[in-house]
Symmetry: D2
Subunit: 304 residues, 4 copies
């Protein structure tokens, strides 16, 4: 990007912003309260050579300001979905600050359910079942929305085999014809929507909900001969059922559950008792694309 003739070094891709701004937004519907709980990270790029070379901050909007903007926007615009909130923020930074040419907003959303019995209107417990994530990139010309989820732990207690693999000098693994298959789903999918004129945005919440359901269904319903096959089954199910999605990447650790050898104790282990191992673990990663679509989700994104 920049050149600094007096030196052999030059600046490449760079970005800056405030990471992990934790914003909770309460909305009152009479006595009935609603909660949105986000972790927002802003990364801005643009005409930033000077600040790197000389420390001149003339083009730098402070990261503290990006944090303030998150809070102010939560008040001014509310939070309808992480994707929509990310779009508002991304456009704002690029539109309002001339030196900023590109904004990337990453959001984690933590979900809550109501507690306390009938009639309780403002009490919540945080739920599990994975964390919803979204990433919006806007550069003044186009917009890209990637959504996803992570830390969703799933397990099939049967209908998984693993055999017929290559063997070399270092192969000792016995073939398995009935094993546990368990993983922590980390996935990101990219919407085709690019904010072009006349284009209607997806219903972000409905799309998230349905995509999550397809992923769970495909995991549960695939009779698996390899985690790769299950992964592809999950990814292709989404592509085939959600026309608004052009690309999906999944990172699936193979959380090994080893059958414990109980024979020294005179006991048979008929796929009943397992040791759940921590490390090492298999790690299966792939992108599934709609035919004709371009691959644009970085390989590392599902490892974050």
């Amino acid at each position: 990007m920049s050149e600094n003739p007096a030196r052999t070094a030059r600046l490449g891709q760079n970005q800056y912003g405030k990471a992990e701004t934790r914003v909770v937004r309460i909305t009152r519907d009479g006595d009935r309260h609603h909660i949105k709980d986000l972790n927002v990270s802003v990364a801005l790029s643009g005409d930033m050579d000077d600040v790197h070379h000389s420390g001149s901050n003339a083009n730098v909007l402070p990261t503290d300001t990006t944090k303030n903007t998150v809070y102010a926007f939560a008040k001014e615009h509310g939070i309808s979905s992480p994707e929509e909130f990310g779009l508002l923020l991304a456009r704002h930074f690029v539109t309002s600050q001339e030196p900023i040419r590109r904004a990337r907003i990453r959001i984690e959303e933590y979900s809550w359910e109501r507690i306390g019995g009938p009639g309780t209107q403002h009490s919540f417990a945080r739920t599990g079942g994975g964390t919803r994530v979204a990433q919006v990139v806007h550069d003044g010309e186009g917009t890209e929305v990637v959504a996803g989820l992570k830390d969703l732990t799933v397990l099939n207690s049967t209908d998984s085999e693993f055999w017929g693999y290559r063997k070399d000098r270092y192969t000792t693994l016995p073939e398995a014809h009935d094993r546990i298959l368990a993983t922590d789903v980390s996935t990101r999918w990219r919407y085709s929507w690019a904010d072009a004129e006349g284009e209607t945005a997806p219903d972000w919440d409905a799309s998230y909900r349905e995509t999550r359901r397809h992923l769970l269904d495909a995991f549960a319903q695939t009779y698996s001969f390899s985690l790769q096959q299950t992964l592809y089954g999950m990814g292709s199910r989404v592509i085939e059922n959600r026309p608004e999605i052009d690309e999906i990447r999944l990172s699936l650790p193979n959380k090994h559950h080893f059958l414990v050898d109980l024979s020294p104790f005179g006991l048979e282990n008929d796929n009943e008792v397992y040791f759940a191992a921590d490390r090492p673990y298999g790690l299966i990663e792939a992108t599934v694309l709609r035919d004709g679509a371009e691959a644009r989700i970085p390989a590392e994104l599902t490892n974050l």
Copy 2:
């Protein structure tokens, strides 16, 4: 305990065992599978002076054996509840090994729910909403069962105040008449049941389920002037409603949600936008006892 006349040092309380044995037990009800997922830690005490003084392992059952026993018992006895499984293990070690006089079994249970739509019989997703824990101590004469839960995050978006407190030279906190109250519940309760002759054991699963519900209800339904009051409301609700429980200890971090000052941006913040802070946090801890009951849950246990 021991004396070693040649030295000024002597051995005090000691224990050893295998910590964090991860056991998953699958049970088949025809095609329909059930899963139990535990993390089991064993701590044994007894006649252990020699191993400390000379390294003689003559009285030491290896920690590897305690791990094997967990797996073998999962097969031989199944896992009906963490309390019941802990009882079986604790009695076994004390009964079968003369030098071992006391066994403490700690268990975490991770819960799963079915996924994949109607008819799926062997597919599960791990749930959130806190982790169930149990501790069983058996010393040959008596038995003590402590159950509990941790990492259950709850929040009231109103009906919480904090004012009328002491002020000194270092007090700057403004009084609050409507604030968010949020915490991660960590609690342990002790059953009166001690395995005496003729005594019937509680229904561990029902007791856990109902105690958890009382805790959530009391949290949600208490109009709070301090987190101490909420804590006591939660603890006393359990003591008053669950006769099988004699003592409960709670450790409740005050997860601060600070109202963001939006006035520099010309915006009012009518209890809508909050910053969820990490550290520091308030920490409120107390034991609530049944009248006449003895306090026996260690103060640190709810910090683990």
Copy 3:
């Protein structure tokens, strides 16, 4: 403690305060800077029945105030050592607030070393090698100082055996005559000093430094037949060499390093290649006391 006749529940041991206040104190010696970096947790007890029963905060000094006090004291008194800083705080709360009868201050200290070459005066890198901790309890009558360290990972690559242990139906472990012995040291020691008239306080920094050295030396120099023996060797070395210390508790996970079976690949493994396992791990815990001293360090403290 309290009785509440209308109810079956009563309040037991309780405490409250601000946990994990992160304070960094810079001291300038001309251009040369010094840094102290602490994590301070305050827990106060006393006449606190009302706040639990009714929510009246009349006896409650806000946790926010305890946080402010930490910062103000860092300015007013500086930070010479975590023990000394804890003493100042503990005495302050008990002395200045009538309802507060007991204060417990827990501190972690993170250490830094100078970087940047000769002459750099204000640049630091955080070091590893474990975290120093201290706990001061003051109740108006007496004072107790416990110091310690945690997360100090050590390993002997030989001079460790494990054999001659008890065997039962579930024992499969082969005896080991040359194994790796590795652990994360977590330990707390108690000083005899109780702030009585005429008593001189230990040199906290020197005592910490020397105790740490004795622990490392004893770990390294003990030819070990069990981790219990090594533990006792470490604890007794401290008791025998540091007259100011009356009691020490250690919690030592046995971080298993399993010799990998390379024979399927036609390779011999002459104690060269190991798998470092995560879970499960052995956990060996014990207190070592000076003859005649009372055991007062809670068993759970070294698990925090």
Copy 4:
């Protein structure tokens, strides 16, 4: 990559392997032992369409085998450096298995220092000061070596300013003319060496050691007007001093240390007492390149 005409979905970039194999290698130099402690992750790519589409494992070398290979290679070849060990593994997988076209080996190395006083030959304590990392990619035609470090926490207690920045409606930050600058360095640098004929490989250990020193020196010696400037100073120092390195990427969180307002207590805070905040934090990321070199380190790599 693949096309599957019956479907709208197709497979994109994919890789698989065993992650986080923990290998410890002891070498004996007479009684004097040496230790190498690595965490090795293997990711293989190639002709893997079938396993995704049908679950046929005919082209799949099991991840268990990649784990075994790590252990066997530790015995057969020893571990001279993470880079060299990664090279051996990467070449092996591509060379020995026809369907595998590309291997990426990622390694973390944990460092140890000797303890126990003069003459102790086999006792070690794990050190801090960051974790060394390396990544080797080999695809049969070329080789790319990226090295780096992470979790190295550094702090300047003065010589840092921040002012002259852009201000908008949401800017409230006061300018700072003397602040603490602290960060956790995460960095990766790419060597120009590509294993071409006649090319001599760098001395990996010396290069790592010197690059680390340059990074620390540049951090300490830069009078900073922005963290961007410090980052560029660190990156360009490496490019200018280490001819074997063509590209370096840094990810530097701005670990905020806020000056505590002590004025309510009648105290002045002359840059003495700071609150070390957790979240949110600034995050400054950039690549620095040798003039003419291509940018090839993925932006996300320094976030892992």
